[in-house]
């Protein structure tokens, strides 16, 4: 009753005096959708549901028992595993930087998880094990396959993105990073993900997330990012930020739109009937810059506002729609109409993009090659993080970084060799990519056999090699859309010029066809092995238990042969009398001993 009472009050208050309680809790929820028609004939939609919870001075550090907008299951999870910062992504498809530019959040194919635990966490490995197990339950994903054997602690690439006290020392043992490139993302992941939202998928932008439509896209990525942030510039007030994101890329040719005219209804199956009542902001932003530079189209309905964003010398035009206002009158839907039939043009290439592939053939030796294209007029410093599973043993000495004929010496090299079934190969290299060049990072590996139970189902499909991460600070914001690290919301990401724009490019994942035994063979092998053992046992036993002695064969005359035959016959008749037989045997032995050694030459008939 003591605990029940305040809860009861809370429920009543939240029904009646929602506004006042929001103040008390100091949390807010924002739903935003950013859409960008890409030059390649695709449409990029990025949903971001942000919960910001200011930590009260009196508020006991992250006490998630009283959560308001913050999803409580996640809160408890964060609490019990001492999580400081967490980034999860579940992705299907690969982001194609070359034709699509940079996304707002990057994610590698499959599942990716990196977590910073709190500094004073003890028993980290056990915590990590429990954490991935709970998380796999929470998101219906097989994150429990992230074990020690495929978990890394990168030393340079994945630094905390949120607020971190300057007094606190970053201890590298607190970071855990793992990927599961084979993870398949489907409705079963979307449903629990949506459940974490305050409005579920009943109201607001989340009503657009129908699994039927979003899984028909060329790229879809679910993400959960949790971190600590500063509420004000001076960072006197701290807060928690939870971002739930969905990135989608629709292919307009597959969607089957006429002349590339798209609309929200066409892409997602329905419009937005109402905004989420819990949301402080409920906005849709459509990047209409390409209207100026590329094919001209008109956008309907008229936007609430057209924002002009100047960022790193790049001008962007953004049509903003305020759903709170619009949905009062009608169901919200955006659609575009092209004036002329549109032709797909070649995309303006971004400054930095990569391409990765396996070299060689056969199942003995191979190589992994990552090509890094730098289209900018200045050299770029990048960090290259490679996470190679233990069953693909790489050779560190074969690491070669070249650009054209020039060999590039790395600035920093970090390497921890993998160990079979214990830990993956960790390689992190920082180097400078020359201007307007293609830099090739290549490393060689051996194909190896696994133990037969380690082969996954459908073993002949091949083994996955997760993507590498390439981190760089871009000097210009061409094709760049990401939200600055210090900001939380899309609405704050416009008109913010900085010295550099951080990108963390995920390369393609790869399939390696390891030598795979024919799994129908065990049956044959068992049969064959049993036969061989059965056949071999007798003679081997004979050899082992009997003594072999060379004797000289005595040539018998006809008479002797006849005598021998007779004695055999007579012995058979005399079988009943065992004594006699014994005597005869003795005699035989005796006669053998007394036999003189007579040499015998066997003539072989010559074949002439």
């Amino acid at each position: 009753m003591m605990w029940g009472f305040p809860y009861f009050v809370l429920v009543i208050v939240s029904i009646n005096f929602h506004g006042s309680l929001g103040l008390k809790h100091k949390d807010s929820f924002h739903e935003e959708l950013f859409m960008k028609p890409l030059v390649s004939g695709h449409v990029y939609s990025y949903f971001q549901f942000t919960t910001i919870w200011e930590i009260d001075k009196g508020f006991k550090d992250e006490d998630f028992t009283n959560s308001h907008l913050f999803p409580r299951p996640l809160g408890e999870f964060i609490k019990s595993y001492d999580i400081k910062e967490m980034h999860i992504s579940l992705t299907e498809g690969v982001w194609r930087h070359k034709s699509w530019g940079y996304p707002i959040t990057e994610a590698g194919p499959g599942a990716e998880l990196w977590v910073w635990l709190k500094n004073d966490t003890v028993n980290i490995d056990q915590k990590w094990k429990d954490l991935v197990n709970s998380l796999s339950g929470l998101l219906c994903a097989t994150l429990n396959f992230m074990e020690q054997a495929n978990t890394l602690a990168p030393q340079m690439s994945l630094r905390p993105t949120g607020a971190f006290s300057t007094k606190e020392k970053l201890d590298n043992k607190n970071i855990k990073y793992a990927t599961l490139p084979r993870e398949i993302v489907c409705t079963e992941n979307l449903t629990p993900w949506i459940k974490l939202l305050p409005c579920d998928n009943k109201r607001g932008l989340s009503t657009l997330l129908n699994s039927r439509d979003i899984h028909n896209t060329n790229y879809h990525s679910l993400g959960i990012d949790y971190r600590h942030i500063c509420i004000d510039k001076a960072c006197t007030r701290l807060g928690l930020e939870l971002k739930q994101t969905v990135s989608l890329v629709h292919d307009l040719i597959i969607v089957g739109t006429y002349d590339f005219n798209w609309s929200i209804r066409k892409l997602f199956g329905n419009g937005v009937a109402a905004s989420c009542s819990q949301a402080e902001t409920s906005s849709v932003y459509v990047d209409i810059t390409s209207n100026q530079t590329g094919p001209i189209f008109s956008i309907f309905p008229e936007p609430t506002k057209v924002l002009t964003s100047l960022q790193g010398g790049q001008k962007q035009l953004i049509a903003q729609y305020d759903l709170k206002e619009i949905t009062k009158e009608r169901i919200f839907n955006v659609y575009t109409i092209h004036e002329k039939p549109r032709i797909i043009s070649v995309a303006t290439q971004p400054i930095l993009y990569t391409h990765r592939y396996i070299t060689g053939y056969g199942q003995e030796r191979g190589g992994i090659v990552t090509k890094i294209h730098n289209k900018h007029r200045t050299p770029l410093k990048i960090i290259y993080l490679e996470n190679i599973p233990w069953f693909i043993p790489i050779y560190y000495h074969t690491l070669k970084i070249t650009s054209g004929d020039k060999t590039i010496t790395p600035l920093i090299k970090k390497y921890i060799p993998g160990k079979s079934r214990v830990r993956p190969y960790y390689l992190e290299v920082a180097f400078e990519v020359p201007e307007r060049s293609v830099t090739t990072v290549r490393i060689e590996f051996d194909y190896m056999f696994l133990k037969w139970q380690e082969y996954p189902p459908d073993a002949n499909h091949g083994f996955y090699l997760g993507s590498a991460i390439i981190t760089a600070l871009l000097p210009t914001a061409r094709n760049y859309t990401a939200i600055p690290q210090t900001e939380s919301l899309i609405k704050n990401s416009f008109n913010v010029s900085r010295d550099g724009y951080l990108v963390q490019i995920r390369t393609e994942a790869l399939i390696v066809a390891l030598p795979t035994p024919d799994f129908s063979m065990p049956y044959n092998v068992i049969c064959l092995a049993c036969t061989v053992v059965a056949l071999a046992f007798g003679p081997l036993h004979n050899i082992a238990s009997k003594r072999l002695r060379l004797t000289v064969i005595r040539k018998r005359g006809l008479l002797e042969k006849a005598m021998k035959g007779l004695s055999v016959i007579s012995a058979r008749f005399a079988k009943k009398d065992s004594k006699e037989e014994g005597d005869e045997n003795k005699e035989k032995v005796k006669s053998n001993k007394t036999d003189g050694r007579v040499c015998e030459i066997k003539e072989t008939k010559k074949d002439k």
Binding site: V94, S99, P109, I253, H355, I511, D518, P539, C599, E603
Partner: protein
Amino acid sequence: MGLLTDPATGEGIFTHSLLRYSNKTSFFLYVVAVIWFALLAHDEINMGTHFSENALLPGLVKGDYSEDEIAKSFLTELTNEVENSNGQMPIPYLMARFHQLGLEAYIHNFTLHYPLGKPTDMTGRNVYAILRAPRTASMESLVLNIPYRPLQSIYPSTLPGLALAMSMMKFFRRQRYWAKDIIILISEHEQLGVQAWLEAYHGTQCGMTGVLDSGDLEARGGAVQAAITLEIQAPRIDYIDVKVSGLNGQLPNLDLVNLLHRLCGKEGVRHTFHNVEAKTLRKPMDIYLQRLTTLLSMVTTQATGVPNGNHGLFHRFGIEAVTLEGVKSKKPSGGARFFQMGKVIEGVFRSMNNLLERFHQSYFFYLLPSSDRFVSISYYMPILALLTSTVLLKAYSTWMILHAKYAAVMLNEKCASEEKTSDTKTADDKTEDGDNQENSTAEEVDESLENLNLVRVGVIFLLTHGIGFLLISYVPAITQYLEGPTDKALFLGIASVSLATVLFTIVYKILFPVGTDWSFYFIFCRVELGLATMCIGIQNFSLGLIIAAIYVLPAHYVSPTQNRWYNKLLWLLFHPLCILYLIVLISTMFYFPELGLEALLSRSFQVTRTTLVYSAVDALIYGSWVYSICAGVVLPIWLMFWVGLVLC
């Protein structure tokens, strides 16, 4: 296992009869092998084809392709473009079209530094476009390859195939079910373009370094799972011929071959293997003969080790591939149109798209007597074993004879010494005799030991194989040193080396007569021949079979004791160059029966020379084995026999 423990091994009835009937047994084995091979074509021995991989689900869905009108308009455009570009590949047009279809399109440049004769360079350009699969992260892909043939090419045009493939890509681009990227590759210079593209795709080099500069690719689509090469000659074709033979006799997975035949059948397109349709003839004998000829033509094609289509180059990279050749219809009506062909290709790609695992079930080693029958490796491999066992048995029996001789000498010696020890006690005056006896046995031992002289065998082995090695590795040097056309230069080089070795042996014989027992040497030669053919047969059955069929009988009957001058002369006929000439002669007679004798001979000579050059160039560019096997294995073995024959 009894063999291990029985000291009497080799002295049983079996060995005796083997020694007695050695020649007859060998001949018998040879005949059995031939009959066995002939029986392979019979339906009782071979099996009907079937699918092993259930995931292929061939023809389970109804095809949606209906872009045949588009294909026709593409064909008109292409024909115009090709005419405007002097027969060269209309690259700008293709790039524009692919971009318009919403594909990523790229150009791939490559250069061939021609390895023979004067250094010349040849450049080429491939165009490829990638359809990015919406369902996956570009980890796997399928290739649709169309060889581009300029107007002046001696081969039939492939433009209709290209038009069809482009319409296929237009259709495929709109589908949402793709789980594997689809790469359309338009390759130049027949197989060279595909080889360069594959090398660039996999970042490797297969031939000699510095010969084919395969350049680099801008984009890839992950691991290539399968490839189809389209050679459609006309918008309306009579039938589709499915070609399988690859480089060095490698074959695609039988499931893929079955898939194509099955889908052709489903869409009502006539489909053949080696231009023979699997139709039911009335007489069983006719069926049998048809299968036998198809089987023979497959064996001869496979034995050359030269792919009969672009598909053959994919196999090395673990990519299952076949070529579909649509043969132009001669009749004014009937035949298959773009619509049906498109349906077939759609079905094939959708089936391959269904695959979760790479092709690993079914057979990789097989012979096809018909498009719907196959012979598995377990049925045809014994033939090679029978053939090689003739020489191996001969070697064994010779060994047994030597062994017996040796054992006899040793035993004599032993007995003599024992007798001596027993005799010394009784009679002193007999010692002189005993000494004499001992001396004589020692000589015998020496002689029999000399027969087992490994040094002699080793030296000849090294010399002959060294010559083979030189012939393989100095092909470019030979052609560069000897001026004139490469075919004449290479032929001259090889012929003069052969002649020199043959003559040198004879001169050596005259100058330094070495006349002892050469049986042991011949054992070695026979064992090498047997093992080498068996090894070759494991890699390329047909090649091993043909080498075995030609060489085992003469190698069996060659013997160190009974060789007259005509035996030697006959053995000269089995020189690899002579054999090549004979094979060419016979095939020329077969293909050009109208030629006169003189024309026939000179033409065959010309073809022999070009064949030599082609096989040498193939070895340098593609890493083909046939030249290396002939020059590095067959020729040295022949030479070893020859040396043995002349010197003994």
